[in-house]
Symmetry: C2
Subunit: 339 residues, 2 copies
DNA sequence: CTGTTAGCGCGTTCAT
DNA sequence: ATGAACGCGCTAACAG
């Protein structure tokens, strides 16, 4: 379909020189006469010549494309993260192949397969909330395609990843509530197989211990992140025999459901029960019910760092480097809303 | 870096047959003996053979990749649209190369260039709000790369596009308000140079005419979409000498500012003054102030349709078809919230 | 039914 | 300073 595009062969023919001369001239090779060099370049411009990247990709066994798989862009965390990814890739002559898993493991597998077939040079992945087996990632390893996981990372050892340490932010959140006088603080956590949930709980427990408050496991409930699950979990916490006066919630989406439900139960939001959440939404101040504070997870930065790491790996890879595992862990941080 | 991967040549050598036989066997070519066919396939599986797509792309002058350029994924309209795009592309063995212009014309141009170089088979574009010149798109035409614009389309004739007709939805919105008894209805519109704004006004006027109400131009005000502009416009409408009892607002973001300001002025939202908006936000029901109704613009569907159109063009292109221009115009539709 | 061969466009030795 | 020739992996036209 685009057969009319000029090639170096065409240029060579017109100038009565060889293709290799043209190739070298175009690349400013030192051993080409200035005269032929300018000659070639001018004709190239005239003909609107553009190197055929697909040929180069093929020849160099490299596509300068990185595959990105994440749950869904509708979540603003991920749409911000991908901006970070894009910005770094495009600065480095790479390009982004996109795929949303929509939190479906099967879809995730298909995407991995598709991108592998498409010969991406490397991948950035944030796993679906249901991903519990990792063969499809192992496969990539075997195929020698570097992967950097970000934010939602699998629970295995030998991987590269960038994540946000939820412990610090959670500890700050609990401390914030303790200082406000709360003693019975619930943790409305997400799916247990997510690493970040483990960390939330760890931060929660550590903050309690640090303040000499006994950890009560029954104050921790999990949701599968579905609206029904969110409400069920909230219900459970609010019905706890000890009167829960504050809840640390997995994220803003869950928090909205939780606060909505609480309101329906005639509970005064952030008075009878205080809510603290983890930042996902950009519009919290326009919401009917807004958490008192929020743990920031720096999506843009995570995207950036993960991409930088991947590009570094791609460089290294060419030199057949040792298989060290890289990790970058950012500290999450509590932001208190004054609205 | 991935040189260990087996090729058909390798398979051929091991089986002492020719590469073309292997190729054909793998493709279930009719003229290959069942015996060799199974033989080849088995060895392929054993060796974990996978065709090198880059070679195929190169050879077939096709990348099965489509470039998508849109302003920003953070706007939920676009993140939904891209889901529609993805779903169709992935069903058709294509893949999505992503780029956000962030409403920056320069960035948009760079992306077009980059994707062209990457030899995408076609492109889906929603232009930045500042795009006023179209040379970078002309270039694509010359390079014979089909483009389908969606939602935000350039003001030129010879393009393919999918868009949503704002007239129908706006008429429904005004009709809805008229039926509620409103007679003085304001239109808080966006920048006049946007096509979609023209359509909003047209729908507004048509609905009034249809109901034999005189169109009063002073009831139409425009905002530049900045928070200050939004408030200024709202102020102007609320101060109108005729008492405005309902306002049709450009979009949810503007509506939030408008309702917020109105509330500050002791105006009871959707009682003293009713608001109707155009859907951008997925969470309207979680908002502090929610418009009574909203004009739906079907982002997912637009994405789908645009992609289908592009894929069709790609098919056609191979047969060197006539350069007709395709358009699909969906009707926007009013959705009344019952919350 | 199967093998041989010729590209696809480019970079890259190896000659000259 | 330049050219000839090869190969990347695959498909397809042509020959048996």
């Amino acid at each position: 379909m685009r057969s009319k595009q000029p090639t170096i062969k065409e240029i060579a023919k017109r100038l009565n020189i060889s293709v290799s001369t043209v190739s070298r001239a175009l690349h400013d090779h030192s051993s080409i006469g200035l005269r032929t060099k300018t000659q070639v370049k001018q004709l190239a411009k005239e003909l609107n010549y553009e190197p055929n990247q697909t040929a180069i990709f093929f020849q160099q066994r490299k596509t300068f494309t990185i595959g990105v798989i994440l749950p869904h862009l509708a979540e603003s965390f991920f749409s911000e993260a991908i901006s970070g990814i894009e910005d770094v890739t495009y600065k480095n002559k790479y390009t982004v192949l996109l795929g949303q898993s929509h939190d479906d493991v099967e879809k995730e597998k298909q995407l991995v397969e598709k991108m592998k077939i498409h010969r991406v040079d490397g991948m950035l992945i944030s796993i679906s909330k249901n991903t519990a087996t990792y063969e499809h990632f192992e496969m990539l390893k075997k195929a020698n395609i570097p992967v950097v996981f970000f934010d939602r990372i699998p629970k295995v050892q030998d991987i590269h990843y960038v994540a946000c340490n939820m412990i610090s932010g959670t500890m700050q959140a609990v401390k914030f509530l303790l200082e406000k006088g709360h003693r019975v603080i619930g943790l409305l956590n997400g799916p247990e197989n997510l690493f970040a949930c483990k960390e939330r709980q760890e931060g929660y427990v550590q903050a309690l211990i640090k303040n000499r408050i006994k950890f009560d496991p029954s104050l921790v409930v999990n949701t599968d992140l579905s609206p029904e699950g969110n409400i069920k979990a909230t219900k459970e916490l609010l019905a706890h025999k000890r009167k829960v006066t504050a809840i640390v919630v997995f994220n803003d989406y869950v928090a909205m459901d939780a606060m909505h439900y609480a309101h329906q139960q005639k509970i005064k939001i952030n008075k009878d029960v205080c809510f603290v959440s983890y930042a996902n939404l950009p519009f919290t101040h326009y919401l009917k019910y807004c958490p008192m504070a929020s743990v920031e997870q720096y999506p843009y930065k995570q995207g950036q760092k993960a991409t930088e790491m991947l590009l570094e790996l791609l460089d290294k890879n060419e030199e057949e480097a040792a298989p060290t595992n890289y990790k970058i862990i950012l500290d999450s941080q509590l932001v208190v809303y004054n609205g």
